[in-house]
Symmetry: C2
Subunit: 223 residues, 2 copies
DNA sequence: TTAAAATTTTAGACAAATCTAAATAAAATA
DNA sequence: TATTTTATTTAGATTTGTCTAAAATTTTAA
């Protein structure tokens, strides 16, 4: 399996989650910053290897084999990201480029040993789930912070309002991509929410909470 | 810089140490298990990039640039090997294949962080020196075990006599490539040597000691 | 429902790295 | 020194992954 093939499988896996039908040639081309013609060639190659099902002009979906391999590449990527942040103290922005290279290193023994060293983490520094050695992982749906309940634990994955004003407020409150929070309290009266982030208590209005995407880590009282 | 180019530079670096003149096409082809024609092509490419000096039918030598890059690749390789053995508890045989892949990961920050995490090691698990961030390393000369003294620590790097009979004896005594030993005692009378290997005491005749190449790790009493 | 626009595929080309087979140069030897 | 052997290079082909330009198909819209 070449680097290029692995990158295509990983991309198709991502895009499949949002697509209703097959993943289109142009969606892949956009994502990988390549030309539709190149994608078309590769899809036929992957289809011949039975890693995807592919009908011309219809798009691609992963086969059982293809999905397994895509999940393996994602497992490698997310474990390396975790290693870089936890053990080598890389910042959020710095990990992606390096993990894009490391995710193609072929050694089952290596990746399972990394997993063990890191204590079998379930979530990577961005809040995305890490597949285990059998390829199982809990799918985490992103939702608005405003739709969460008291005592949940989650991680910030994005914003709806991308205005500089809003981002500045988040910055000031130390809310970044990947920040893990615990919901101390949700006020029924006005929908305002109080979070605990790194042992500090932070208040957010309903309006702010409606503009922050999060992924739920736990819906139980983990304190 | 592609993987292939880096592998050629690394190979030329190794072979230069033994060659008197330029490194020959066929020596590189042998080492990389490839064809002379392929090597010839690549040498011209590397010469055009000013990574080697190359005269037809004469062989190659590294330029300043080429040498620096070769040393960087070797630094990466040996740091990864050290990581695999020290942190992930890989065996001697298992590290090489994986390190061959990892040595091509491009990130200065990554490799320097690994170096720091490992405590800036000077020698890899095979007893080979690890270049520092500036490319400096102490060249370790291989010598015969028979020419060593009491209380030295070293590592096995090769044999002079490659007969199956001799190798069987070494196997039985648990002496392998990479084995680290401490010289407990050297008998002046007959030149016989007693080693400590993994807390076991092993006796070798002068004849055997004259057929084993080692690298000195320490000439001080490290016990 | 037919014409225009957008998407997708095919055809042909290219760079990288390899190969085999043939040509050429260097080294060894008679 | 002339000839044979060995080593090296060149020529031409192949695979992988990409590209541009052109052809084919699907979608959109008049």
């Amino acid at each position: 399996m070449t680097f290029a093939e692995e990158n295509y499988l990983k991309t198709i896996f991502y895009l499949e989650q949002e697509a209703t039908e097959g993943v289109s040639t142009s969606a892949i081309a956009d994502y990988l910053d390549t030309r539709a013609a190149s994608v078309s060639d590769m899809l036929q190659k992957l289809a011949k290897k039975e890693l995807i099902e592919y009908k011309k002009y219809y798009g691609a979906i992963l086969t059982h084999n293809g999905r397994n391999h895509a999940i393996l590449v994602i497992r490698r990527h997310r474990l390396w990201e975790t290693f870089l942040v936890e053990k080598l103290h890389f910042g959020w922005e710095e990990v992606h480029e390096v993990a894009e290279q490391l995710e193609h290193i072929k050694s089952e023994k290596l990746i399972n040993a990394m997993d063990k060293m890191l204590g079998y983490p379930k979530i990577d520094p961005h809040g995305d789930p890490i597949p285990d050695a059998n390829g199982n992982f809990t799918k985490i749906e992103k939702r608005l912070l405003a739709d969460c309940e008291e005592k949940w634990t989650g991680t910030i994955v994005g914003v709806k309002d991308t205005s500089s004003d809003f981002l500045k407020i988040l910055d000031r409150k130390q809310i970044n991509l990947g920040t893990v929070f615990y919901i101390l309290n949700k006020e029924k009266y006005d929908g305002s929410i109080r979070l605990k982030i790194e042992d500090e208590s932070i208040a957010l209005s309903q309006k702010m909470a409606s503009n922050i995407y999060i992924k739920v880590i736990s819906m139980q009282n983990s304190e």
